[in-house]
């Protein structure tokens, strides 16, 4: 046993991995910042159907979202299990839609108001009754551009 270790041969020192955590943290923070958190809580379960003829919604500021689905577990006791409409962060009825549309309209410059699109995020198991009511309300309110939110699937052959 010698007091000092003998110097090992002239091996090249390994690359220092000390900065690896910093690099990874940088990446981590990037993703954390970029990840846009949902501002509004989902109070209804929305599982959109699949469709092949999809159009992308380009300008987010010109889109307002109307959600229709059954309330999540948390709200089942409060409002029951029937399909509900969610506007912004609260449950609503079809009567609240015109005001909701108007509020969104104000935030859009006047020149772009005719290109406002309503995105309907509707659960696939909801029946058309409530959807038809919402459609009628939208028509009455003059909001005719509608986008039925859906997931991508391939077009059927034939």
């Amino acid at each position: 046993m010698s007091k000092f270790k003998k110097k090992q041969g002239n091996t090249t020192p390994g690359i220092s991995t000390a900065s690896l955590p910093d690099i990874v943290f940088m990446l981590l923070f990037f993703f954390m910042v970029v990840t846009k958190m949902r501002e509004t809580e989902l109070m209804v379960t929305v599982n959109t159907p699949r469709a092949s003829e999809l159009t992308k919604l380009e300008k987010k500021t010109l889109v307002n979202f109307i959600l229709i689905g059954r309330p999540t577990e948390k709200y089942k006791l409060k409002v029951g299990t029937k399909p509900q409409i969610q506007l912004g962060d609260k449950f609503a009825t079809t009567d609240d839609i015109p005001l909701f549309l108007e509020k969104h309209k104000i935030s859009v410059p006047e020149s772009q108001r005719q290109s406002i699109i309503s995105s309907l995020k509707i659960d696939k198991d909801v029946t058309m009754g409530i959807v038809g009511d919402v459609k009628t309300t939208l028509r009455k309110a003059g909001q005719l551009k509608v986008n039925y939110s859906a997931k991508k699937r391939e077009r059927t052959a034939g």
Partner: protein, 182 residues
């Protein structure tokens, strides 16, 4: 016990830091779903309080699609499966055999959808999607035949020309309008 051994200072080992950070990174990568808002774009008809004007429509030009509460399809009085809908719609619009009971020409063709309040939204959207797919395919075929290019490679004026020749008319406003057709 080797007392002589120099006692190491207790330092936290930072070697696993990278692993922890990687774990977090992967977690965020996996959970991040880049919210893509896509959907079937529809233009609703404007609302009017007056009853719609009586329109004299030749029944041969109307392709009525009924979806009932059992999610079954009734197309021009006959039951149909959803996966046949697109194919049949295309034949109806284009009418390649010039049949008497199908549209005179694509410009006169009208698709009419009627659904029950009990129809599932999933079925409704699928039907709408198939009808839209029929038009999209017809447009693509027309673009190929006319210009030898895909629809998305054409100039906007050429696209408009094709879409004007085969206009998309899907009526779903007043179900009673053409509802009597049996």
């Amino acid at each position: 016990m080797a007392k002589s051994k120099h006692r190491m200072k207790n330092e936290i080992n930072a070697g696993s830091m990278a692993d922890i950070a990687f774990l977090l990174l992967i977690f965020f990568l996996v959970t991040t779903t880049i919210a893509e808002d896509k959907g079937v774009l529809v233009k609703l008809p404007a609302w009017s309080d007056e009853p719609p004007p009586e329109m004299k429509l030749n029944t041969r030009n109307v392709y009525s699609v009924l979806v009932n509460a059992q999610n079954q399809l009734l197309v021009r009085g006959e039951q149909m499966q959803i996966h046949d809908l697109k194919h049949n719609t295309k034949i109806f619009i284009a009418n390649p055999e010039r049949r008497e009971d199908m549209s005179e020409n694509p410009q006169k063709a009208i698709i009419s959808i009627k659904n029950d309040r009990g129809t599932k939204y999933n079925t409704y959207l699928e039907v709408y999607n198939e009808l839209k797919a029929a038009y999209n395919e017809l447009w693509e075929e027309a673009a190929m035949a006319k210009h030898g290019k895909n629809l998305d490679q054409l100039k906007p004026s050429q696209v408009k020309e094709i879409k004007d020749a085969i206009p998309l008319v899907i009526s779903e406003a007043e179900p009673t309008k053409f509802g009597e057709e049996k």
